[in-house]
Point group: D2
Chain length 410, copies 4
């Protein structure tokens, strides 16, 4: 073990779910580093209670226990800003896991400062993106923090060894079940994800029984449902005319989307650490938000602003996917993205039906750039002079004409 | 009229559909320019016969009549290359109209050369993108060609004036109906589009009766259908194990997609000439192709290649949308896109169901970069050394640590 | 004449230099449009007095005459923001002409509002970029303004016709000389430009006698001169320890650069209207600023922020070159550029010698990210753990290793 | 020592300069890994003989010794392709060191295959970019190769320890001098670089005595020298009318540039491993090539092609700087860059004078897109219709007018 033993650690803030893995980590940290542990458990909308984590932590001898409801902060300061950019990783993935990590890292560092801890620890493995996302966050916010990543250090390299360690140390093994799923899962208000097992063969369709947040399109209601979304500065602020807080909006959209079979995704993605992996995701509310946000932007955003946003989006998405939320370049890009949203105000109507999110109307009393007098196929009373198009085309073509002329001169 | 009368034109190649508008244009060109007309009618999969255009042209006194079946060339040399880039304009539009124009322009110029014509003409209005797409094509391929755009020149500025001109000149007005649709429509093997009328209010949902190529998701079959697509160098070459030509593949995908309610789109887009306009599109086959192409790329394309393609795609899409297919920058980008596809070989399975295209499997015997031994959650026998991640993260974080350290020194 | 005669114009604000061309335009506007003229003459550092323009305008019957010293606004709100992005068009051109046009357009519109004018006019030709820059500014700021571009309207298509018109109408022809130069010139505090005549053959070297602001490197002093520049938020605020206003800084740098033969440029550039043109420029102060700004950024800017700025710069430069200063996309990009400059504080020392600007030192007490303890070739006492590099490299290489492995498996 | 001892290595191909450092490495590898060593010494134009390395290697007991003259391959397949993109890292650095590493890595792997070696080794430290460049190359070309980086493994962490190790093992210490320079240096046909010592304080000017390839501008001849460069497909093929091979061209340009004080650079750059470092470079020939290449492109390249190249260049430069020459994304970009150069044919005349490279003429008989009939300020006989500009500007302004109109309606 590279760092155990000799190098002194006094107090570690552990991101603690209360499940089997982080319970084993807690015990292992105590044994290996002979240090005090502070647990931190966050409600970011993963579902299930967070309070039981308190009892489990106490049972394992922890004295400083932090349990926080971060749902509003999560949606307001992380999910919404990300959606302002229509952010999608590799054409499809809505970054549900990626966007939660920076918040957890930030809160862990805050707790470390408050409790005088000199280290932080997490339960992410050495193969995934999450270790990077946690640790880039830690280091960016507290450069001298000591990071302990048990999965990279210990020799519990298989599930069997983990279970046997748990039994040896009296950690209740029924915790393991996580509801009995055989998949590696992660959830928060934005999504739930599945990895591992049968999914490790990308040629195979996932089993219907895997999905938890949404019905299949086949089982969704036979009747469509319409939904009005009101936007202010690019964020949704009301559903069907009712103002709601960010977290409540997303929770409601998840419920409606899930009911209509919306937001399932099955893809092979490129991890930052260099390999391809197959993941399945349910993002019901996010899927609705993305479509609706593009719709409200379609009438309120200038063309070139929209195009520039589209060109930068993949890079912004990769920054978040790779764990660079707290980097100066992400913050700099956010400045521009946020500036673009000042006129993104209005409403969008969508129709939800068996997996489909169909935009059926959009308008903005204050900021619509759609001018029917100009676009019309009917007589426009001089709003647009068709003769202008000739000059526009001729000068746009000039460089190509000169080049082609040259060829024929040769 | 700026150019009528004095400036001499000898022979004009007119893109002639045989419908009312281009018939009026034909007559108007004869009268205004006192010149000979060559008609060119292409089958690019718009549906309906092209042969009747011959009789109509003859009836209007045309001697040189060209009728070409360009369907295979259209899909092979225009649609497929575009799909290699996962091309989407403004996040949603599959560019069905845009991609057909360069082919028509090219063929018109070829015919002009063959027939010794000194001018070309088209039926696009002065407000839209199509005039730009046609004319940039003409000028790029034949810089000294004379272009006549009747809609920008004449005074038939309303439908009433057009009809009255038709009646005056003995042009059969029943042509006008285009099947009775009140919409401005365009179709080819890739899509059918609708503009105008009620669509000019983006707050209003289109009427169900407008759509022609697809049933609504509600009316689609209650049973899903699976489909296997085989890719070679990024293009689909077989459906369910059966090799087909490009045009046949797209026709078949249109039929299947349309049956399952796939590929409808309703959006407000930004035209190159500067205004926003609302369009509705049906692109059943294209919608399937796009999802499937991303899926095959997900296992065969290197991460950074994929990301670079994603970052350049919006610009490539705008080039096509704006009419720059024949520009040197589009050709240069195509070189890179095509080079990226050499390993994009394998198959994808999709499930079609009530508007949904769901990727359920993908594999490549020859080119899969998905290595289950590395991604696995199980013991990997040393294929990946988790300890490497620590150094990776630490150096990735270094610049942010230095910066944060600096802050705390201040 | 397309617009003369029938369409009524009441009052026109003319950008008036007092030279021959704009005097002829003034007269021509009066005659053609039978309207009142308001003249606007700005001192943007072009050199020479602006007051004589008042007498000339009066002499031609103008009642409302505006003469403004815009030098500080020009440098503070246009030149400096542009230099924050290290802006260079096509790898070389410092955009001296381009950056002045938006200010003039803005001021003309302000005057039009103040004087109740319904039109504006400028002296730029129909072939150049300046017409675009002026008019995009006018339209962006006052969409219903009437724009009169005499060079595109009148029939004074050669210099001879212009001179004969001037003589006919009693406009003093000695004005023409502009100091006797045969070149088409433009000057402001940032640069002076030359076009036309012998320069129209890009194979020919310009004559030494053409250059006005700088000596040749050959004639520059044999002794180098050192200069200390202090930066705050990316802008220079002091020279050799002496705080100066933006315009004074640039004027002083022009004087020093010119003395040392710095800032000459001879290039063929691509105009927005579609042709290539050859231009020669002297930008002594700007050339020094650019080098120095990159140097101060090199120690204060994060790597990824710097790289993102570099990647976006060519587009930002093209926006300015093409006349889109007042566009929403330029403003959006500026938000990001300005945000990047908050830590760009410190000083740079440059050495000026016979055409060379050599950076010889840079430091920032408050914001240097250069940490000698880490970069050192000497023992670093653990500031950097070299072992981290192995993991960094291995994971960075992973995707390429997997791909190459695949090849060898085939 | 992490890997010494237990893990077996049979044969190592060492990049061997014959200097002190790589001689110590050779000895250390023999002792630590008890393995056979193959030395590889390349002439890439670093200056000095390579043959003496043979005797030194023999003296240290090496049986398989490879000495290759790679100068032509280096310039033809690495330097020239890079210059086609006008490649500059962080606005200034011409990538002299970066571009040589991929060639050395490739040759080492070839030798490893030929000699049946299972490992490769290099003398780059754990703090720099070169380790990354070497190793990414090794892994990309031979994914299962074992890499030994002594500087990251051994405990010879200071120069004193290294010298003492050398003495202990009978390695002649006079080798150390590298001509007596106190700097860390690297040289090849493209450049020579200096790091370390006084340079570790970026506020300090380098000593004149440090520079080796160029005289100072002060000491350069008082007479300018003109030079004609002929380009074919973007590469220089002749100087002053004389055809020369790639390596001979670069050598000649280095000699001429160095004589005229051209190509010195002093900058702080961002290393891939996360820290800033200060480097000084002499790139006399490269500096001339870059200016000349931009000049020939200025008359032969389409505007949008040129702009797209400029926008992608910083990323291409970072790929090379970071060591990704052999990556699929670099190769993909190269396809596009090379495609852009097919018309980059013609000649450029430059004037060399005391540190300045001044472009004074450029022309292309076959590919010039500069059309004087269009750009001229004189009467153009209808080549360009100035009236076209009005429509061009109006439609370009339309979206901004609509937006501003909206504001005033509010």
């Amino acid at each position: 073990m590279k760092k155990g033993g000799t190098s002194k650690v006094n107090k570690v803030v552990l991101a603690f779910s209360g499940g089997l893995d982080t319970s084993v980590i807690l015990k292992w940290l105590q044994d290996t580093y002979q240090c005090e542990i502070v647990t931190f458990t966050a409600d970011i909308g993963q579902g299930g209670e967070v309070e039981p984590a308190r009892a489990k932590a106490r049972q394992l001898g922890v004295k400083e226990i932090f349990i926080d409801d971060l749902r509003e902060e999560f949606v307001r300061d992380f999910v919404f800003p990300m959606f302002r950019a229509n952010t999608v990783y590799e054409g499809e993935y809505l970054l549900g896991t990626s966007i939660a990590r920076p918040l957890i890292a930030k809160r862990q560092i805050e707790i470390a400062r408050k409790t005088g801890a000199d280290a932080v620890s997490h339960g992410a493995t050495g193969k995934g993106n999450d270790q990077v996302r946690f640790e880039l966050g830690y280091y960016a916010l507290q450069p001298d923090i000591r990071v302990i990543a048990p999965w990279r250090e210990w020799d519990l390299t298989s599930r069997e060894k983990l279970l046997s360690y748990a039994e040896q140390h009296g950690i209740p093994v029924e915790m393991k079940k996580k509801g009995g799923s055989p998949y590696s899962m992660d959830a928060n208000l934005l999504h739930i994800s599945y990895e591992g097992r049968i999914l490790e063969d990308p040629a195979q369709e996932p089993e219907e029984s895997m999905w938890r947040w949404s019905v299949s399109p086949e089982k969704a209601p036979g009747e469509a449902q319409y939904l009005d979304l009101e936007f202010k500065h690019g964020d949704i602020i009301a559903l069907n005319g009712k103002k709601l807080s960010p977290a409540r909006i997303l929770a409601k959209l998840n419920q409606l989307g899930g009911k209509h079979g919306i937001g399932r995704l099955d893809l092979v993605e490129n991890r930052y650490v260099g390999m391809k992996s197959r993941g399945c995701y349910e993002t019901p509310g996010g899927t609705i938000m993305l479509r609706a946000h593009r719709a409200i932007e379609s009438i309120t955003l200038d063309r070139e602003v929209a195009h520039l946003k589209d060109e930068l989006m993949p890079r912004y998405a990769a920054l978040i996917y790779n764990g660079y939320w707290w980097s100066p370049e992400r913050k700099m890009m956010q400045t521009m993205i946020d500036a673009s949203q000042s006129h993104v105000n209005g409403w969008v109507r969508v129709k939800l039906y068996k997996g489909n999110v169909i935009v059926v109307g959009r308008d903005s009393k204050t900021d619509s750039l759609f001018d029917p007098r100009i676009a019309t196929f009917e007589e426009d009373k001089g709003a647009y002079n068709q003769a202008d198009a000739e000059g526009f085309i001729k000068l746009s073509a000039l460089r190509m004409r000169i080049a082609e002329n040259l060829k024929s001169r040769k």
